[in-house]
Structures are given as structure tokens and as C-alpha cells.
Symmetry: C2
Subunit: 363 residues, 2 copies
């Protein structure tokens, strides 16, 4: 099978990590029977400055008609509002109807740690945040007007039954898939599948109320009979995320809460540089590291490539190439467990390329 | 001076902790020259079930015309939507124009800890979250309609120049006040005052953009010349909150982000049972523990009274009784630093009353 992969490095360290994704795909063992064709594509703030469009139509067209999946790096947000500029990744998610943003967050106990010490303050984490990716405040319908006491701006938060249903069903499927992997013998901190629905329906009774009741209904389907379902109000979810991260398996949330929760969960495992995501639609997936364009370290060759490598694996999972994905995850975990070649965000001194090469060796 | 204080225990453990607030006020040394008159007032889910109103008009009237301040416990959110019920504390904040929700989060190094061990994973925390308290998604303007693919609900997120300006100015004042207290010799992890403006203007360019530019403008006043100002996008703020909590002094945020951030910050200091808040308007303040009604422990007499005791002190601060407030803070800190009489949320076995009595002894 030949997979056609679009490569969208974007800005900043996006340019340094996306090549790592390409390299690991090219290095996959031939026995997996996978071939790849890569198409470089443009998007981002630099593209906007050069062409006037942060997300050129050509990029969307090629992804739509000529690709099976893609890797997206990161884009810079200008530090002051720039007329006509808006985030290309948000636009891409909507244009390709990539309705789920899937963000697994998992700790790897380093070989040097006394993993079994019960007094250890580091708690094991193995969760997936399943973030709705097309609506909520991200519809970006805003207006500004003059009120009697100064300017007033309003934004629309939109929650639909359709989007809430499909994201909750996706969370249920992911919970089942994780359970199957565990049943096949992968060690895990979770004994049985759990989906936690996050919302703020105590304040937003209609919007978040619709998310909540729709998600409940979707997860009540017979298919999900083995999946336990619970709820957490978003503020208390953030609290619990830090107090009891080991209690969570799959968390499903509207767009903005999912955005916030996934950065919070990344903090639990030590670095945003470790956390992957996939933007998933029908038969299409874009892998995207959760970190941003990191202007502070750009150009130094020290960005952590692991978020991108894991995002590459996650993309493969959603393209139903699970065996290939598993190889990448295992190679990354082996690098982390040994803990010798780590990038600076993890306390090491290795360069991006050195980390990539160490992981390729373990493939 | 006689202060007239409304007491609104609300539901659940609210009933167990609000009496502690009253006791500590009554126990303040006579040398402070303060007298208190208490008025018990009703609000909450039980009140709703009994009277049909979660926030009786009488409660609002007495607070408005017969009180200088108040203590609010907690209210239960029904686990399923109940027609006609909505949160009385959200309504109260708006009705009394208590535009600032001030939430200090501070770690006390327990006497048993090796505070100076640099390898300690516990980082010192000393921050105040200043949350806008009247608008954002809390305007609760929602509607539901039938779309072509099922039901759709929309909520309004409203950000005004006026509310953004006054909350940022409040954050600036608090930063200055904290600096004065430090200058008077109180040890602190902060060398100079800093306000961090939190928003998501990379997506919400008009609403959060207005919050951001207005807050910047308010903090550019000559009065705040000594206050450093920076910004964090809310998702990355949650990440940084957990990776580098020691870097933050005063954080100012729109209502919903402030709600989420303050629960997150509470996790940093070990328990929501420690974290106070004050709802502050012109010449009026309501102290309110950040924890909820905690139905799981209600009736057992084991709720941590410290959030309420600190909220009582915080209320006094905003009623310009800083000496009295300082006495309460010091007594609470002494209890925690000794670490002998702690409630179960902190790993101890003491009952609410035992903790209160220990703190009263130290007053
Ligand atoms: C860059 C920004 C628009 C984006 C988002 O909010 O979705 C980012 O934070 C993310 O999580 O992918
Ligand atoms: C109970 C709820 C409505 C409230 C809020 O969201 O403001 C609570 O979480 C708080 O922080 O005081």
C-alpha cells in the first residue's frame, strides 16, 4: 500500500520536527509493506506574510484530492493582531471536517526512576483527550459594538447535537480499542474502559447541557456496554487531572475545554514536546505535535522530535496501519525509558537529529 | 467599628464551614476594635426545593441594604438539569455587581518538609488569580434551535471594555498591595510585581482581543509603572501553571478561564479545601471558599474549614480591616506549618471543629 502524505511544516520549529516525521516513515521496515509519497505544502504566518493567505487554497486542494494523510508542524501566532490573519490549523480542521482532535498523554517511567516507590510524587498517566475539533467558540463568529459604557465584543459558542454525538462515539471507540490492546497483554494502569465527559453545564445549561446529554446518549449505545461513563465539570476536571491523573482513561470535551485540558495533561508528563495529536475525519488524519512554533528555541536544532514522531504514529493508527504505528511508539518509548539521549526540554543535551537517529536505530 | 455580616451557608459542607467563619470573627482580639453583627441568609438548592427560588429576593435585599460583607458557603449543582434552577452565586455576583473574584493560592511549607531541598518536586506557590466575575459566558444568554442535522445550542460570550478595564485595574492594585506587604518584610518568592494577562486572542480576536488590549491599556497607567505586565494564552497558561508555578504573581483572566485556572492552582497547593476567594464590588465583599458543597463528605464533620477561614480574612481585607485579616492568615499558616491537626483532605484525621479550635488558639 502506498500512502500519500502531505507535509506542512508551518513556522518556527515546525520546520525542524516535520522532517523527523518523514524520516521515520521512510525508515519503517519493508516487511510492513508500506510505501510513502510525500508532498510538501505551505501554511502558516510566514506563508501569510509572503502570499497574503495563511492557508493557501492549493494546500487544501492537494490534501483533499491527493493525500491520504498529513503531518502539520506548528504556526506562529503574531504577538499583535494582524488584519486578515487567522490560524490556518483551525481553518484546516473545519475545511476538511477533521472533527476529532485525539491527544494521548502517557508517561514512560524512565529506567533511572524507582518506578515502584509508592512515595514517588510522579503518578503514572495514560489517558487520551478526545477534543471536538470543529465548533464551540472556534466557529469564530464575533462582533464588536459600542455600548453605553464603552466597546463590547461578543462571540458565539455553538454546540450541535451532531458534532457532540460523533465526538462522543469516537471517544467510545477509542476506549474500546484501548481495552483491546490491554486485553492483548499490554501492561496498563487501567483495568477497564472509562469515558469522562467534561462540560460546564452547571452554568451553560443549553450548550454544554446539549453536549452532556448527547454524549451520554451516544455512549449508552449497546456497542459501548463495557465502557463506564462519568462526568466532570471542567474546572474540577483540571483540579482532578493534577490530583488523580491515574484515574482517567478517555476524556471527551468540547473544543475549548479540550484545548485547555490537553495542555494541562502535557504538563503531567513533563513536556509539551512529548505530546502528539491527530486531527481525524472520515478516512483522513493529520498528525500534529501539541507544542507550538516555539520561537524561543527555533533555529537551534534542539526541538524535541518526539511529539511529531508520535503524531506520525497516531496518523498511521487512524489510517489503519496499526502495526506500523506500534513500531514507532515502541522505538520512542525505548529511547525515553533508557533516558540517555534526551532533548533539553527533558533535561538532556541531545540535538533533534541525535534523538531522531537514536529512535530510528530502535525501530 | 461594627461590621454587619450576612451568613449564607448554602448546601452540603457549606453548612459545616460557614460557622467556622463566624467563630473566628467572634474570636478576634478586642484590641482590634471590631464588633460583628451576623444575619443568617438563605440560598442554594435546598432553598430552591423548599421555596422555588435558589436566591430569594430577601437575601439580596438584606445584603444590599443591611450588610457590609458576607460569607457564602457552597451550593449543590443538581446532577440532572432542573427546570427553573440556576446557580445563586452566579446570580449574586451579577446582582451586587461583585465584579472581581479574587483567589489567592499560596503554599505553606509544612514544618516536617525539608523546605530547602532543591530536588524537592514541590514548588513554592504564591499567586493571586483575579477573575472577572460578571460577564463572559456567565451572562448565560443561550438559545436552542433545530438545525438541518439535529439540535443546535448557542451561548453568548460577552467581553466589555468596562469590565475588562476594571478587573485589570484591580489586578494592578493587588500587585501593588502585595509588593507593599513584601516591602514591609514578609518573605516572598517574588522580587517584583508582575501581572499576567490570560486570554485566547489567537482564536477569539475580538472578544479576548478586547480583553487583552483593554487590560494592557489599564495596566499602562502611571500608577502601575512598577508592575511588569506579560501575557499567556490560556492553554499554555495551564501548562505553565503546573511546570513553573513559582513564576506567577498576579494572573488576570476573563470569567471562565479564571474559574478553570483557580481550580488548577488549587491543585498545586494540595487541596481545594485550602483555597479562599472573595467576590468584590464597590465597598462590598463576599468571602467564599473555592471548594463546592462536597456531597461525598457532607454531614461527617470532616470538611476543611481553612478555605472559609481564609475567605473570611480576605473579606476583611477588602473591607479595609487588614490587621484583622493578617491575624487570621497567621493563625492558619501556623496550624499548617506545624502540620499536626489537619483534616483528611490534607492527609490528617482531625475533624472540622478540632482544626478550627487549633487555629483559634493561635489567633
Ligand atoms: C494555535 C491554536 C489556534 C490551537 C488551538 O487552540 O486549537 C492550539 O492551541 C492547539 O491546541 O492546536
Ligand atoms: C458553582 C459554579 C457556578 C461556580 C462558577 O463556575 O463560578 C464555581 O465553580 C466557582 O468557581 O465559584
Amino acid at each position: 500500500r502506498t500512502l500519500r502524505i502531505g507535509l506542512i511544516p508551518g513556522d518556527g520549529i515546525g520546520k525542524e520536527v516535520i522532517p523527523a516525521g518523514r524520516r521515520i516513515l521512510e525508515a519503517l521496515p519493508a516487511s510492513l509493506g508500506l510505501k510513502f509519497e510525500f508532498t510538501p505544502l505551505e501554511a502558516g504566518f510566514e506563508t501569510f506574510e509572503r502570499t497574503g493567505a495563511a492557508l493557501p487554497d492549493a494546500t487544501v486542494e492537494v490534501l483533499r484530492s491527493g493525500c491520504d494523510g498529513a503531518l502539520f508542524g506548528a504556526v506562529s501566532s503574531p504577538s499583535h493582531p494582524v488584519k486578515g490573519y487567522s490560524s490556518p490549523i483551525v481553518a484546516l480542521r473545519k475545511k476538511l471536517d477533521l472533527y476529532a482532535n485525539v491527544r494521548p498523554v502517557k508517561s514512560v517511567i524512565p529506567a533511572t526512576a524507582t518506578a515502584s516507590s509508592s512515595s514517588s510524587p510522579i503518578k503514572p498517566v495514560d489517558m487520551v483527550i478526545v477534543r471536538e475539533n470543529t465548533e464551540d467558540l472556534y466557529v469564530k463568529e464575533e462582533k464588536t459594538f459600542d455600548g453605553p459604557q464603552g466597546r463590547v465584543a461578543e462571540a458565539v459558542k455553538r454546540i450541535s447535537e451532531r458534532a457532540s454525538h460523533r465526538i462522543a462515539a469516537m471517544a467510545g471507540e477509542i476506549a474500546l480499542r484501548r481495552q483491546n490492546i490491554r486485553a492483548a497483554g499490554t501492561p496498563s494502569i487501567h483495568a477497564s474502559p472509562l469515558v469522562t465527559i467534561t462540560h460546564k453545564s452547571n452554568v451553560l445549561s443549553q450548550t454544554d447541557g446539549l453536549f452532556r446529554t448527547t454524549a451520554r446518549a451516544a455512549l449508552a449505545a449497546p456497542r459501548f456496554a463495557s465502557v463506564a461513563v462519568e462526568e466532570q465539570i471542567v474546572d474540577s476536571m483540571v483540579y482532578k487531572l493534577f490530583r488523580q491523573p491515574e484515574a482517567y482513561d478517555v476524556i471527551v470535551a468540547p473544543n475549548l475545554y479540550g484545548d485547555i485540558l490537553s495542555d494541562g495533561a502535557a504538563a503531567l508528563v513533563g513536556s509539551l514536546g512529548l505530546v502528539p495529536s491527530a486531527n481525524v475525519g472520515e478516512g483522513f488524519a493529520i498528525g500534529e505535535p501539541c507544542h507550538g512554533s516555539a520561537p524561543d528555541i527555533q533555529g537551534q536544532g534542539i526541538a524535541n522530535p518526539i511529539a511529531t514522531l508520535r503524531s506520525t504514529a497516531l496518523m498511521l493508527e487512524f489510517l489503519e496501519e496499526e502495526a506500523a504505528a506500534a513500531r514507532i511508539y515502541a522505538a520512542v518509548d525505548a529511547n525515553l525509558a533508557e533516558g540517555k539521549l534526551l532533548s533539553p526540554d527533558l533535561g538532556g543535551t541531545a540535538k533533534t537529529d541525535e534523538v531522531v537517529e537514536d529512535i530510528l536505530r530502535r525501530l
